[in-house]
Symmetry: D2
Subunit: 418 residues, 4 copies
């Protein structure tokens, strides 16, 4: 296990260095596939593991990032370099048994990692090599965890039954990637789905089992397009997209009073206009909604659509709404199933709590809902550890001993399900 722990740390740091943001996990994906193939897995990747990808970066960003990739491979990486990132490793024991899926998210944040010398990744030489990309949420640890579990399952293969599906999911940040994987059909026959996250609301050395309180959320990009005109000479000929956007932003922020549950709305970014003396004909907004439950978020979304359409109508401009991310709520877990898992972990002297609410969004809920819709069961774990700074902070780092904790929890749960 010492050896295993060292491997977990090495992998975590290897992937911390090549941090890549959602749908751009080119090097990350290629490296993961190489490991998985080396372990002996059948690996699916590229278009075959995807449906529709939300929140894909512009083609020229993809192209630019592609040019930086030097990673060589003896398999076809062209689809990966088109943004079909992530990989799914399958181990079929060909013995009667359950289908167990696991999910590890692999993308980094669009954050410039701190250059502070006392930030450990700098001190110990594993900081991100990429500008404006940093594993500030712990997904590097998730990759390491996934690889270690994958390697161990192969080793134990002859003692195992059923089928294992290890999903290395791209683009969790912005809640974009899970839906695409679900749409590939990959999760149709899954009996159990295990996933989890380092840090978050768990206490150090503690595993939270059966997390709920995932908020429903939607991420929308909104475009208004009007008509330019000289603001001095003939302003009446213009169709003002800036005013449409401003009115829209203000009106959207009036929508968040719900008796049926907490809701949130944020217009996070607004860009409009081209020049001081031109009636602005283009505007762009990035917004998000959240709801304590599915009903709140969908009613909120309906109201959002009315306001966008109405604002466009008001200023006689065109509009376009692009869904660039989103995840459903997840509030109830199968109490019996969770209780069984708690017993399994407790027996192995792992400190477990339950009943914790995430109070945020995670696109794993797409997968959990898919599995449960088909009568499968799912669990989301939180692995407590000491954080150097909060998630998404440019000095985020974690106590790597949590990787062992997560590794043990995953394997004990898997073994108990067979």
């Amino acid at each position: 296990m010492d050896n295993k722990y060292q491997k977990l740390i090495d992998w975590r740091r290897e992937f911390h260095k090549c941090a890549e943001t959602g749908w751009l996990e080119f090097e990350t994906t290629i490296k993961i596939i190489k490991y998985l193939r080396y372990f002996g897995y059948e690996v699916k990747y590229g278009k075959e593991i995807h449906g529709e990808r939300m929140g894909l970066p512009d083609m020229d960003i993809i192209r630019k990032h592609r040019e930086t990739i030097k990673e060589d491979a003896d398999f076809d990486i062209s689809e990966i370099l088109d943004g079909y990132t992530g990989a799914v490793a399958i181990l079929d024991t060909h013995k009667e048994g359950p289908v167990i899926a696991m999910r590890f998210d692999i993308d980094a944040n669009a954050i410039e990692e701190s250059k502070d010398e006392d930030h450990r990744p700098n001190r110990e030489g594993f900081a991100s090599r990429n500008t404006n990309a940093m594993h500030a949420c712990g997904h590097d640890g998730h990759i390491a965890l996934g690889l270690a579990v994958a390697e161990e399952l192969v080793k134990e293969k002859h003692h195992l039954s059923g089928k294992f599906i290890l999903i290395f999911q791209p683009a969790e940040e912005g809640v974009r990637g899970a839906k695409s994987i679900v749409e590939s059909g990959m999760l149709k026959d899954v009996d159990y789905l295990i996933s989890g996250h380092i840090g978050l609301g768990a206490e150090k050395n503690e595993v939270v089992c059966g997390t709920t309180g995932f908020l429903a959320t939607s991420k929308l990009d909104i475009y208004f397009e009007g008509k330019p005109a000289h603001a001095g000479a003939n302003p009446e000929a213009g169709k003002n997209a800036l005013l449409a956007a401003c009115s829209c932003a203000l009106n959207l922020h009036t929508l968040t009073q719900f008796g049926s549950g907490m809701s949130r709305l944020n217009v996070g970014v607004l860009k409009a206009g081209t020049a001081r003396n031109i009636v602005p004909h283009k505007a762009y907004m990035e917004i998000e909604t959240r709801g304590e439950n599915e009903d709140v978020n969908s009613l909120l979304l309906q109201k959002v659509h009315y306001i966008i359409e109405g604002s466009a109508k008001s200023f006689d401009v065109k509009f376009k709404i692009v869904e660039s991310g989103g995840a459903p709520a997840y509030n109830n877990c199968d109490k019996n199933f969770i209780d069984e898992l708690i017993q399994v972990l407790t027996k192995k002297n792992i400190k477990v709590t339950t009943g914790k609410s995430l109070g945020a969004s995670e696109d794993i809920t797409h997968m959990m809902n898919e599995v449960e819709k088909n009568r499968g069961k799912s669990v989301y774990l939180m692995f407590g550890t000491k954080l150097a700074a909060p998630h998404h902070h440019n000095r985020f780092d974690f106590d790597e001993s949590v990787l062992s904790l997560a590794y043990d929890a995953f394997l004990e749960i898997i073994r108990s399900l067979l």
Copy 2:
């Protein structure tokens, strides 16, 4: 003429006393008809002189005012008491000659006349007997002028040729009545239309001949209707008409930049909501637009409609737009015709100027456009006098000698056209 002058003053004061606002000129109309019939005119009134009436008061206001009317008549006044006010006197000489129409507006303002003792109508006992109704624009003088001209034409009948149509028009305030009269077809064969106004931009004792610069204008009442809900318990169930109206009012006020001519927009009244703790489901707005020319006002109106519709859409409420008034622009007069009239007046030692712009709206433009469309000619005069206070002020009053000036000008012009 001394006798004539006294009559002008008497009539003016008689009608000043019974001031009635637009579409409620019940007593006023009945009295006018009585005089006209007494002079010997064939008088048309009621439905036969009207098309669609804009900005009609609510039925219960009409009913309430009807109850105050004690004026007796030996003709059927039922349509008058339904708000078909005004009268048209016709004198047909049955001799070859032009059809000459004249227009005198008869309605008062919704203003409470000053109770100040030094306000002459109080001092000399001819102040308005009606609450919230006052001749503060001089239309009482116009009625007197019309009656005096009518009486004189009958006297001169045997020296005259052609046909005379004297229109006593209701509801000029709010630019509502002229369109209804035009729609009756009354002005179809008119060769000449003469009208005018006391005061305005004319200097004392001066007649302005050939006024232009009449702004196009529209008066709209806007209704939003949403859905009430308890603001604490389930605000999301409400559809907020107050916010729709507020967003609408702000957005409407962004519309007035036109390279092609001056424009104006005013949201003059906004009333919304029923109680502090109820999501407001009703809102009402009174707005007006103006344009230096027809194109400006119609493009502005189109933009206004977009914003009303868009605001309703935004907050998922219903809307209704009621046109409660309006008049077209009038910017060009027939220079040759005006020059002839100037000569006529000048010869009679009447001081005349021309080229003055009204810079406001008057619904006579409906009639002027109608007449000119059919190749007739029209003139709008302003009769200069000393005003005690500006038009629409609760201490408005005028030097009554202007009535003689106007009377002379009218008759000289009429005689010159035969």
Copy 3:
């Protein structure tokens, strides 16, 4: 008890008939005082029981209502007729013992009672005689309850100890009256405060003991005053209070997202402008805020003040904020005290539940906080009954047997505290 029950019903119906809204409870107060004096109480009323009265109606409304009052009295009622309504009955046993205060609210709602024949108050002849005033919340029952308890206490006087303060509070609707009573100092030495409400969240025949979840709330009237100007001729000379109010209303509604607890804001009424063609120089808004706790409501209020001030600044208009109502939050009760009371009631075979949240506002919280600040204890009860329609509905009515239940609960609790 049969006799007592009949009295409860008679009183409830007597006061239902003379329903009067907040600060106008003239007849109601005089009648209550007469009963209390008849029972033998020392009764305080008028200015001596009041501090500053929030949300007082305009003086001419007070004057108008005063003229309708025919109730005769052998005590000075002039202060009552000035709006110092309500009464406080004091029974001092002059024996060592606790000071026990009770509160009964006495005002009606500004609702026109249903004229439906099948609405019981109509059928049985006790509907409100006053227009736009109806006991649609059950305060008529509270008065009856207070009188019955008062009468009984006098009867039991020789078996009692300590001091009793029975507060008949005006203007609970709009959360206005309690603060004024508290400011009189009346509650300074109170050891126990008992109060409650018919209906609300309680099941039929059940008493809820120890209600919490009272929302903090503030009711504000906002006035903007700018400068009128002719909207066509010189709009730039105007200072637009309507636009200030519209911008204010929209911006206020963007304020309700709080991570620290639920919040609410409603602009319930907005009236602005005088005429279509005048730049509107006056605007008036009625708003309310709510917060799950005191911190949420006070931070929200601070933000509300910024927006009101900023909106006035933006359009260069003056503003005035009048606090017309308000009540603090109340979230925690003294668990031990409540448990004792539950035992008391249970022993007497009264069905009791606890742990219910009001989820609304009640100005009793002013009193509860005052008493608890001085180390006293307080309890708020809900008395379950069948309602004919929801509170504040024009067909509201309740099963009068609840009056017995409330009466018993009050007396048992009082007896247990001695």
Copy 4:
């Protein structure tokens, strides 16, 4: 003259190639100085010809552009490379006579020149070598004109009297540079100021003499700064600069109704926020105002300031207003002086018209007002020519024969003033 015409064309094309935008006319300025020194002028440049520079680009833009400059010089160019661009050439005849100033603006537009093959600058090889900088307004022609006039004046030196000041002004676009030059004191003793523009409202081959109708204008950059917060977790901790900007933009657009003259306002650019899930704490707006006269623009500006301050207050954010450009109105010219000049030009068979209104803004008005304030006289000419596309279009080009016309007009006027 053929030779002169060829030179005019050569110079125009040389400067068209090195198009540089306002305050970045590094190469342009150095080249102009070299020519002027070569002709024999005393040339002032750098800080000595400047006061405060409005609308200076960010320091790193200046630095970046500086790095592209290869132009060598035997004089100190360090201040020029700090953005103190432009040059003033002085020719003192040391003979009694008037001080005659001329102004030639030298900056290009921030426009990417068309790559179309049939765009003449491409076809004939003199298109702009710089990205996003193009002489799309004809200032390249103005430089050529200035140089040609400068060369000729030296040649004629011994026949001339008085003093000549030739101002090659930077940053006319965005109306930024003239004020800085005026503040240097350069124009204090000027008797005559001559300037003009190619194209605009003049007919081909015609000179417009005595242009008026220059609109007053102000260019403002507005910054709002609030406080970021997580939009899901604790939105109430944020101070929303985006909503402040949106409310500001909408409210600003309600300001343009003036009875006292045309006004304009445009919020041309708005950028706010950093990320979808962060309460936006920064916002930036570029706006401009215009007024038919000085009073309109200054009253408008005052109202603009109120709204900016009020919007900041409303959302509790800080604000900063940076004046990045501006020019006063200029509506009246010295009719006698203009008439004299018209005679001068007409005598030389130059087709002249007068009474044309610019209907736009030009910062020459700073200079004209300065000269006239000190009892000097000024004239603004327009030189008619055929344009390939409107001013500020990426295919703008002009018939270069206009350069001769302008050259002749300048010299005839100068000679007439001595």
